[in-house]
């Protein structure tokens, strides 16, 4: 589904310094695979998502999605950010329909789908509300519905639950898994929460900062469907310890 080969991204700051955000990233993601990218801030996780989406060109290396080289934004992809970034002047329903509209599709034909998605995410009854009348978690659900509306086969998520409180966060993770079980798609999910990364993923990509590199790709290998109780599973702890070791070992070494 996604093939990154030796991808590097550098840019020049205003002062003219070269910053290497991502270096030598090689990663292959299978169709319908759930892959999480975990690492401290500044390790180029978000840049990697933008590269995959074709929002910014790679300085070096090759990026392919569905065997097509990525040079610009392409069809059949959904994006969810840390902030819901809804349109405050639109109702919840019209916010969900926004993606269809921007894609140049006829929003009326997507009304039913949008209502179904809102029901799936427990937002029935809120269709006519404005975003500011919703809690942060509900707003993020709307943003996820917006991304899911055209039923993309690839979903890119940039710390989508990062701005939520811990309890809502767990709830949302399980909800996302439920949606994913129901309508399979390839998901590339950025987070800085290690438990979240493991709970969700088939494979966890551990990244280290400055420049952003892949330290290791770990197979989670825990059974699905997953529940919160899995966190007490020794296998969960083993993976978690490994991720932690990879991230903190580098930090100590850097000192």
């Amino acid at each position: 589904m996604i093939r990154l080969d030796g991808v590097e991204k550098t840019w020049r700051t205003r002062r003219g310094d070269l910053v290497r955000a991502v270096e030598d990233v090689t990663l292959h993601v299978e169709p319908n695979e759930f892959v999480t990218l975990v690492g401290p801030s500044g390790c180029g996780k978000s840049t990697l998502l933008k590269l995959v989406a074709g929002l910014t060109p790679a300085t070096r290396g090759a990026i392919h999605v569905r065997d097509q080289p990525v040079r610009e934004p392409f069809a059949d992809v959904g994006f969810v950010f840390q902030q819901p970034v809804l349109l405050p002047w639109r109702s919840v329903l019209d916010n969900v329909l926004f993606s269809a509209e921007m894609l140049g599709l006829e929003p009326r034909q997507y009304r039913k789908t949008a209502l179904d998605l809102l029901e799936l995410t427990g937002l029935s009854g809120f269709e006519t509300k404005y975003p500011r009348e919703l809690s942060g978690g509900m707003q993020q659900r709307v943003a996820i519905c917006r991304a899911l509306l055209p039923d993309p086969s690839l979903l890119l998520m940039d710390e989508p639950f990062g701005a939520l409180d811990a309890m809502t966060r767990e709830e949302m993770s399980l909800e996302l898994l439920r949606i994913w079980e129901e309508r399979r798609k390839t998901i590339l999910f950025v987070t800085h929460s290690i438990p979240e990364a493991i709970l969700l993923a088939d494979r966890v990509v551990v990244m280290t900062p400055r420049p952003g590199r892949i330290a290791r790709v770990l197979d989670v290998g825990l059974p699905r469907p997953r529940t919160m109780e899995l966190e007490f599973d020794p296998r969960f702890k083993a993976v978690s310890d490994e991720v932690r070791a990879l991230i903190f070992a580098r930090r100590v070494a850097a000192r």
Partner: protein
């Protein structure tokens, strides 16, 4: 609870205003203040009433000078803001000019404008425009630039055209900012129109104030001033009303 809010929001300010007017009235009587120094509210009211028909004509002139200047500030200011936000080159070319235009005291430009454009209403409209356009440009530009970058990325990832993104995302996003600027602009436009009239005119409320003071008719100057303030308040309210109609999502949750 609701009654208490009504008392706090309307009865208290109204009572304060009436109280202040009564103190004013009493003070002018008690201290025998000459009417040309500080006329009593009753005298101002009486003079205003005498002038009610003549005021209509003068108020009309000032009103359309104001509205003309305001309309011009929107017609010029909003496209200018769009250019500034979309083109870095234009931004660096135009921005200093705008700031320069804003820094020149308008009262100093007014005589020159009258010299160039003549004695009619046009120079007043131009002065009103010059005073009012700055907040429109700056606030609208700020609003257009305030679109979260994620939203722009999202539009790009859907391969929407720049025009579509502008119409569906950036422009509505800037609306509250535009109205913040427009509310300042409308009150400034009143000032601009009056400044224009001060410099040279034979009609308008500014002209009435100027000629009234030169004949020591302070009551008339005061009633004209009050009329001007009322006009500014009503115009401000009108812009605020348009804002509520255009941006209904801004209403606080409790007020729907």
């Amino acid at each position: 609870m609701i009654r208490r809010r009504v008392v706090a929001e309307s009865v208290v300010p109204a009572a304060t205003l009436v109280g202040a007017l009564l103190v004013w009235e009493a003070a002018t009587q008690a201290f025998r203040i000459p009417r040309f120094v500080m006329p009593a509210p009753s005298a101002i009211l009486a003079e205003g009433w005498d002038w009610r028909y003549r005021f209509l004509g003068h108020a009309w002139v000032t009103l359309y000078e104001t509205l003309g200047g305001f309309a011009l500030s929107v017609i010029v200011g909003v496209p200018l803001a769009v250019l500034i936000v979309y083109s870095p080159v234009l931004r660096s070319a135009v921005y200093p000019l705008i700031v320069l235009a804003q820094s020149v005291p308008k009262i100093a430009i007014a005589p020159v404008l009258l010299l160039v454009l003549g004695y009619g209403e046009v120079p007043k409209v131009i002065v009103a425009f010059l005073v009012a356009f700055f907040p429109v440009v700056v606030d609208t530009a700020t609003g257009l630039a305030a679109t979260p970058p994620e939203l722009l990325d999202l539009s790009r990832s859907y391969r929407a055209s720049a025009f579509k993104t502008f119409v569906k995302v950036r422009l509505p996003m800037a609306m509250p900012f535009f109205f913040a600027g427009a509310k300042v602009a409308i009150t400034l436009a009143v000032i601009g129109a009056v400044v224009g009239e001060f410099v040279g005119s034979d009609k308008g409320l500014g002209y009435v104030i100027l000629s009234a003071t030169s004949y020591w008719k302070t009551e008339l100057a005061f009633s004209s001033m009050i009329l001007l303030s009322l006009m500014a308040i009503v115009l401000f309210g009108a812009v605020a009303l348009v804002e509520r109609v255009v941006c209904p999502w801004l209403a606080p949750a409790g007020e729907e």
